[in-house]
Symmetry: D4
Subunit: 227 residues, 8 copies
């Protein structure tokens, strides 16, 4: 019934646009949260069969990951902290420079790891900088050299999200800020951090959705491959 | 018609509780925004006549201040930046230590000055620390000695309000955070700063209302006079 | 990879800044909600081994507390109502005066107890004043002497949070207000109480995050130890 | 073109339902804010000519009131503080008891006066209780006899609106709470007071719209005339 | 330690003010949601032993109700739809008139029944009017006689809450509007209905908290017993 | 620089897509609020010269309208209440049936008139039904025949917006609801009405933006010309 | 006790208005979420017995559907993706044209299918257009012929809801936009999509509640049967 | 009193950090909104004297610009649409590629021009793409070659902000989205566009504050100069 559409793969539940990467350099990424293991195996297999590598599956919980791993076999890796699945190896780093991924507390690590692994998988060298919250500014300053050596900086923070401004004031590279839903009460599931980051007094900071580690890693990849 | 109420002063528009200071050590402070110059002169005069000194008038614009100054005569001073009027001299400093008032940008100065002058007027030594935003953390660090020497720190910031967390991580004194309505767009008239401050990852920080310089200065005074 | 950072403890999941207390007088407090019993035992043991006492663990549920208690042995106490764990004894009270912790209803008790126990553990004499809601003002007035004898007052209230204003009008000490998520419907998980408290018509009141008993107890400690 | 509609008065801009009072005992009240003086004179005159007395005009500013007064002649009175116009005399009090109208500060007086005058005009004895905020609870308690003698209590308060709960705890009569837009910052134009009042921990309290003095006075009238 | 407080009952978890009814005619009502069956049995028994009858327990789920019923014995009734427990009989109706409780859909029945049973228990004749939503206005009109015969009308509605305005336009009695959390999406757990009702274009309408059937029934009782 | 774009008119400030009507049957409508009289004259003239008739200008205030009228000459009409300008005559009605435009109060008339005139201008017979608010349901019922005779019904209401549900329950035609910013306090500039309408319990109701009379009239036109 | 009401069916839990379809052409639709299988069987059976066909049951989960299917026997069908039950066959298509139902992603399919099946069941030919998100605009354009051939277009989208504007710019038919709760973080359960759609820059778009597939299908049916 | 701070310029009202550019490559940009012409002249002159060129002044209205132009003399240019002042010439373009600045309507032009001029001034070739809204997708597609040729794309849109997603789906370059306050009603001063953009279904999109053309232009510059 679809006339004139680009070649696509109809799996009975989702159409995958097989030409997307060719057209735009955007690999299809599978959002794992709303799909069954069977669906994920089918889509990932089809994309991989067409030559996309790696194929990423985000928001994949541990239980479903086991089933997916069985279905896809040995090319598949699962990164539990980031809840990320990957079919195929990370691409060799070929970006302009390095991507730094910075976060403040242990609670923000899953989102930070998702960002870091996505960037790594797409072909970027990543340096992880952890436990450097605004309330302990000396730790952040101890990492200034690493921060300033990066081509792009991803800052992941919940609660009041002030880390984005502090980092933004220290570097000349573009900063991608990721508010997280870490916190309670008036954190309002990440709204406080989002508002804080979008109002950052530091220039050169932009913001993605709450807990959107994938989006930040992907954007960092694009910035690090600007042509 | 009022039976058994404490002695009060009926000026036809507002009752002033003349015993309040005696009972609680709280001087009456006149909120100038909704009152005429004539009303302010009458209330301030009555309070001063009863022995309260100084009498403070907050949110007093320059034009009204001229009329009040004429009405009250020479004991009256007007601080334009803070929009504060004062009848009588500042009390001699008798607090535990010093109050530091910190702010990031010129736009936050009116609120910061209101806090500083209120604290000074009530009997506190005040040190002002300006232009020390989170995005230029080296300036803040250059003032760490002054910050750490204070008994109480008032932090005034708009936009993303991250300064409260940065200062909170540097000092062991209580921090009173004042969000301001400085900013635009998603600052939502100070809401972003308020949420940021109330979610501060630094311990020892509490928050007063948006633009409430008076409240912060008054609370700093109380903390600096804890018994 | 961390160059020049202060001495820290890397447990594979969280870095603990062992020098924090020495530098700022801030003991590390462990937020128990997002950590396993094993992680808590490891961090608490390390901090205690370095000489910090007591070590506090907040938001620790009863089940996890049993495992932590087994791991840490006999120096560990668990306070179920406050969901607080403590390794080591409370410090001897050495503050300027007493801390009063006031709440209105049984539902607010967990937060109030967290505040009270944190202040006690850090070295403050605490007086608890319960069941004194605004809607039964005579009960509150019956405790005025206790309230006025305190150096700092922590007020814990959910629903409309009016207790903070009522207490704020009765005392000359600094008031730390803690909104709670107690209530339903338009209480919006504590937002109504937070807005109410931040707009308090009583001077000398500041606010911490919703349900942040720890923060209030910690701040009360700092105010009661102002230098 | 209107078939079967009840008798009405078409003034080219607004239809007035002349039978409304007869059918439901609800006198037509003219909302003055969006109408010209000429329109107000025409509607008020028509209603009065049909026998309604008094005719009330709410939200009538002073300038427009002068023109209306000229147009309607001597039966018209204007109450500047309440911004209320009235054509005809107040009805003789014939309610079950008295209506108490309580407010905290001078800024709330316009709304309180509107409530009081509306209730008086419709036939209720009204007792005004002013300057009795929660932060000065002793003043409120000094008026307990007046409060308890009332059949209905209207409480008008801005900022944190805590007065409704305090009054609600003192009386057994129904309480009508009116949040006002008095305040600044996180008062959010009356939202904080509204949320506070709707979450009141005192039973027997209900709420009308922000600044809706008319609605409160009208409802108090109805409660005081329950059949 | 409590000096001068009124006689109260300390159950180790909650203080019950035994004199409250005597002082204000307000029977203590037990909020069942946050209490164990054992606590409820103890408090209810104590209040009943002191002569209060009936004793109401709100928000009591079916399972806990069985345990409470066993503990309190035969004077205890449980009303499942309203989730209300009652120890003792309803008082004989002695109000000015009847209370009408109106709701639109089956989903609103639990809240409506809570309101109706509370009013009945406290001594009011109650007429229930169901399934009369605004979208089927003919059903509402078919009940106009019952509506107009009531002294007070409680209107319970979720979704857009328009029923309050429609009923408010039909009756001359005071209307107590109860928004419910019935609905989905942009109903925002009752916020849409609350805003709708608080902005009602019908005069004589006031609002209580979302799902607060108890509060509405209690207020209706007070209005129906105005003195 | 624009390659392959459809023919367009560059006026130095705004490009007008001259082919839009041909392609989609959508006449270009000029949003007058942000444009000068000169710009409006130029765009309207160009569109009219190309054969579009009528050309509508929305949100055109009276003063600017005078200048536009001078510039465009005699084919131009201005409808002050609706703040609508029209160059050319209304098209002859050629829809499936009639469009009814319903509103409750005089304050909603400008938005209602904008909707009515837009529909009329585009070729629809329009019946206006005014002053039929939910709080006076008998007036609404008196117009049921007119309502049921319409092919589409536009309902315009501010405050609580309940009219949309009441009308929606009376007709089988599609209902387009327009919330208005009429109201005060918790009406929040039309948000309350918007939420109310989007949650309407009546089926067949959809909603456009606050005060968007143009959008409602335009959509009614499209529904009345469905093919 | 109900006098003069239209004939109705009292099932002890809900009254069903048997004449509704006759009066207004609106078939009763059963909202399955809050009802037991037994209740659904009773209501559906009664309506069907009176001649309504089909009878629709919305928000019916799979488990309950099995019990309903057993109770109603072979005329009953269950559509799992749309969570819709139907007793009786779809009516033969008799509308003006076709209804197009468009959605972007697999996550939006349940809502889209509910809309499509409701429209089909009530007598409309439906064309489904899937996987045509704004971020892959070429897929949408590939379906322009189908879109332009429709008499009404339903657009279902979560996240940022931009699809409604893109489709609105391509067609001359009325567009019914359905925001969905698909998304996370700042999607705020569909609020972002709702705001986006209600502000659509494309004319001819109106909006129903979040996830309200039924409402959209029903409205599309009405538009496609305008008389 | 400032010990150890970097060299700075104290103008009595604001401290300018003269070393900022040297340290971080961030030229000081003067926010013109809250400063007098005299202050702007002083700061700009000082910065320029130190060698910074160009010096940018944002949010500078036309009247103030005239005074600034007089004070600074001939090196100063004023761009009225963007409300931007510039002392010195734009730097020669030395970025990786070109920056595209895209906007939908004339109302968004001021913000788009601010972004474009800031990027140009800092040394970037900029291509402007206007009048390409989502509702007229063919115009956007006509510019695909220009879009795909850019290294960074800035998308400026108000109302529903859908343009960011549409552009994000067409390009492989990083997209910086700027919501504007253009719109009315439920646009909520740019909130709708902000939420829409932050939830964009297109990967590679990040967001800056509402109306923050400067921030977007500055970030585009940084991305276009990634090292």
């Amino acid at each position: 019934m679809e006339r004139g559409a680009p070649e696509s793969l109809d799996l009975g539940f989702a159409q995958v646009d097989l030409d997307r990467e060719r057209r735009q350099g955007v690999p299809e990424v599978i959002y794992g949260a709303g799909k069954t293991a069977g669906q994920i195996v089918a889509i990932a297999g089809a994309l991989h069969g067409r030559g996309q590598s790696p194929v990423l599956v985000t928001r994949l919980d541990a239980e479903k990951a086991r089933a997916v791993a069985e279905g896809l076999g040995e090319g598949f890796s699962y990164f539990a902290e980031a809840r990320l699945g990957r079919l195929g190896l990370a691409r060799a780093p070929d970006g302009i420079g390095r991507v730094a991924v910075v976060c403040a507390g242990t609670s923000d690590l899953p989102v930070a790891e998702e960002a870091a692994l996505v960037a790594e998988s797409l072909g970027n060298e990543v340096v992880r900088i952890r436990d450097v919250g605004v309330a302990g500014i000396h730790r952040l300053l101890a990492r200034v050299d690493d921060l300033r050596a990066a081509s792009v900086v991803v800052v992941v923070a919940g609660m009041e999200g002030a880390l984005a401004s502090a980092v933004g004031g220290l570097v000349a590279a573009p900063v991608v800020a990721v508010p997280t839903s870490v916190g309670y009460g008036a954190a309002f599931e990440g709204l406080a951090a989002l508002l804080s980051m979008i109002n950052s007094c530091a220039a050169g900071v932009s913001v993605v959705n709450i807990d959107n580690g994938f989006g930040a890693g992907f954007l960092a990849h694009r910035i690090n491959h600007v042509k």
